[in-house]
Subunit: 531 residues, 2 copies
Amino acid sequence: MTDQPQVLIGGRWRAADAPTGSFRAEDPTRAEAIGPAFPVSGATDVEAALVAASTVAAELAATSPERIADFLERYASAIEGDAETLVALAAAETALPAEPRLRSVELPRASGQLRQTARAVREHSWSDPVIDTASGLRAHRAPLGKPVLVFGPNNFPFAFNAIAGSDFASAIAARNPVIAKAHPSHPATSRRLAELAHEALLAADLPAAAVQMLYHFDNELGVRLAADPRLGAIGFTGSRAGGLALKAAADTAGVPIYAEMSSVNPVFLLPGALAEDAEALAATFFASCTMGSGQFCTNPGIVVVPQDAAGDAFVTRATRLFAEASPRSLFSRGVQDNLARAVQGLTTAGAQVLAGGDIGTGTGYRFQPTLLSVDGIDFVDDKGALQAEAFGPVSLLVRVDGDAAFAAVAKALEGNLTGTLYRAADGSDDALWGSIARHLRERVGRLIANRMPTGVAVSPAMNHGGPFPSTSNAGFTAVGMPAAIHRFTVLHSYDNVPDALLPAELRDHNAAGAQRRIDGRWTHADVGADA
Amino acid sequence: MTDQPQVLIGGRWRAADAPTGSFRAEDPTRAEAIGPAFPVSGATDVEAALVAASTVAAELAATSPERIADFLERYASAIEGDAETLVALAAAETALPAEPRLRSVELPRASGQLRQTARAVREHSWSDPVIDTASGLRAHRAPLGKPVLVFGPNNFPFAFNAIAGSDFASAIAARNPVIAKAHPSHPATSRRLAELAHEALLAADLPAAAVQMLYHFDNELGVRLAADPRLGAIGFTGSRAGGLALKAAADTAGVPIYAEMSSVNPVFLLPGALAEDAEALAATFFASCTMGSGQFCTNPGIVVVPQDAAGDAFVTRATRLFAEASPRSLFSRGVQDNLARAVQGLTTAGAQVLAGGDIGTGTGYRFQPTLLSVDGIDFVDDKGALQAEAFGPVSLLVRVDGDAAFAAVAKALEGNLTGTLYRAADGSDDALWGSIARHLRERVGRLIANRMPTGVAVSPAMNHGGPFPSTSNAGFTAVGMPAAIHRFTVLHSYDNVPDALLPAELRDHNAAGAQRRIDGRWTHADVGADA
């Protein structure tokens, strides 16, 4: 047991205390265990992590934004400096391509996100200071004063890692301690990131216990932890079943939970757009659906295609591309089994398999790029079963006859992260756009024109969120600064409090140069200064 | 049945359909029924209200902000113009003083709040438009696209009425239809307000079904409705038990609920402040605790007083004021019974009654102004029972010996709306302020210096919210524009959408002159204009 990888609790690496088991990562391409046996933490570790994080919450809340930003930037640089090691670990554990995906796309995205977060911290752009001189009231968004528990997903070993992704960065930006629960499909990657985070914390002179990292604990323990009122909030990215179980637990304790769960990301191909170049659209769609083996929250899982000649050409071309493609690696046996079940569920509900449909030949965890089709009327009739997420390189074509059928499909959709419409450049689709978007808009977080939904830019105008049950609350985004930080804050008002006893950000003298709303006007000026 | 007051559903007044019973208001000062028998709505009315509101959600979401603001201002003027009738109805149903409370304080506050909301609508200050030209992403806060269900409380017949208060105004400001569930203790007041709202809607040329109003329905039906996914959100002001039951239901359906529940609003009297004028402080405290018969969410229910000479002087004076006061009218038998039970609970937990303690002599629903006392050590030992809310003119003194005891009481507190510290003008209390505020700050929404917590200014820097269980989510306020509006919005992002297909607020040309964050800078300019 003593040479097991150590967990990070209370500012130091130490052996897991009373673990309930151990697990190893797997090479998904061979379905074989690799690397050391990592501990599955038990209640002792979880309690220790919660106590350690709680203990430094007040100190961290009182630290300077500059120190937080310094940490985020040091950590970003450390990740970039360690890219070769990180990419090698992640590639081995996830079977995602080292190039371009891990090295040129995801790793820079992760470090860039940390830097954007640092910028939001330096600019005070998340705390929305409001000063009302007439009433003597001043308010801003403040740290929770309690730890944030972050559950990382399997599909982004860097950019959504519990110890490096947007939830982590957002929670730390608001000066909250973090308890990171890594995903068990990439423990060595998570350990390396945690080492870098730990070193950056020390270098930035932040409390070492600001960050804890456990490799894994079982679901029952997770649910129990989620209901602990000592938590300030929870960030979760993963399955709908997992997210709903944690949400039910957190809700009983009044712990805010921001869960990003499942999404089929409907794509509507309008007739004019298809007529422009159906075959090119098919290629774009195929690339989006199979990139990363389709293991994205924003994978285009449903594509609505008219029953016309251009629609047929699209389907023919797409079917060929899917049929000719070799099986794609999946993260784990769990992902493979769930995907097989999901495809089975779609066919049971009446979808026809046009290409793929099973794991195909080869080694390791895998699935064939799979295209299914169903008539729009049947989709609406069995809308529950036919919009169940199939996490992997799988998409369901929904064939519709006429404009009303497009709108009927839009109305049948559950909450999703994204909804996409491809329209003709000449505007000829725009009346139809209106009749679909009217229903689609309220069912999605991000409405997209003429781009596939995969690819989530880290932008202040991004919404990586959507109506329940795609996420737990459509008012918040998991990506994009400063908005993502708001999830991990509370509102603090000060009433008649003397200047010297206010937090620096709300004092008359605007020492940090924050942007503040004073008597209704955004300004960088001191209170009382002329405009 | 046919001459029963009508309910407002789908834009018209009509008889309740299949009501489950009827009820009458009471004159609390005589405990006698007054006015007509109002219907208790059953499932048929509730379903009709939900369908009617849902049907106009899209139309209302697409209406212009100007029209919404026009409605809010017309409604405000109508309330002011109808003041004599409204005040007479509310005074009869609540026993609150017509003057100054109802006519000069609460009614202007309610109409002023509607006007502030109109201003926030005209200024687009709630929707936070963000434009990122580099990525082609644009985002803003948008209507829910579904109805908001508002439960009004018993204690503010105007300013928190389900059909006129902050929840109502916030929901309509974000262009959401409302289903108002009035409080059964003031049905005639609510009916009159609903008539004015209905007329203002028609005059402003808004969909008549934007507002429904039911006088009452039973708790079981309320819980079932709260779990209906056709709702966009719920606003609730009332008891902890009621709020938690609705929250549990709403949470299962992913319906965001903003529940303001209970709060004891601790007040810490620091030694220097007491030494300045203990007797004046006692009078201020007595007035705050008994105003409105103490039936406020921000009533000072706990006062922490040092065991020193000035503390003793405060207690002596306060005890005399409470003891000499006559019983105060309460809203209903329910309020009276709950208050008697709460005082019993405090004494069972070890508190001593210094003054009052029961209903006293007189007619109607009432309770004596009641002052209790407990030692700080005992308070911490039985902190659950001793900080249960006693809704009425009741307060518990907590006597503490030394600075550490002050902090220990602060640490023992649950989430509250407010926390108050009285400090000496010469700064001599400020070290102690720090050691208390360190714990108090994270347990309250609004931190107050040298003012009693009663009196909630309608200000953009107000936080009428607080940590669970005082409210359901410490990130939001129920009072203060534009922040209160955020509760009833979702985040919408647009990705690569052509200018003509964007909502007006996000187009290049800033026709409405909204304040927008373009590439990180707040501006009123068009996209592409030089700064």
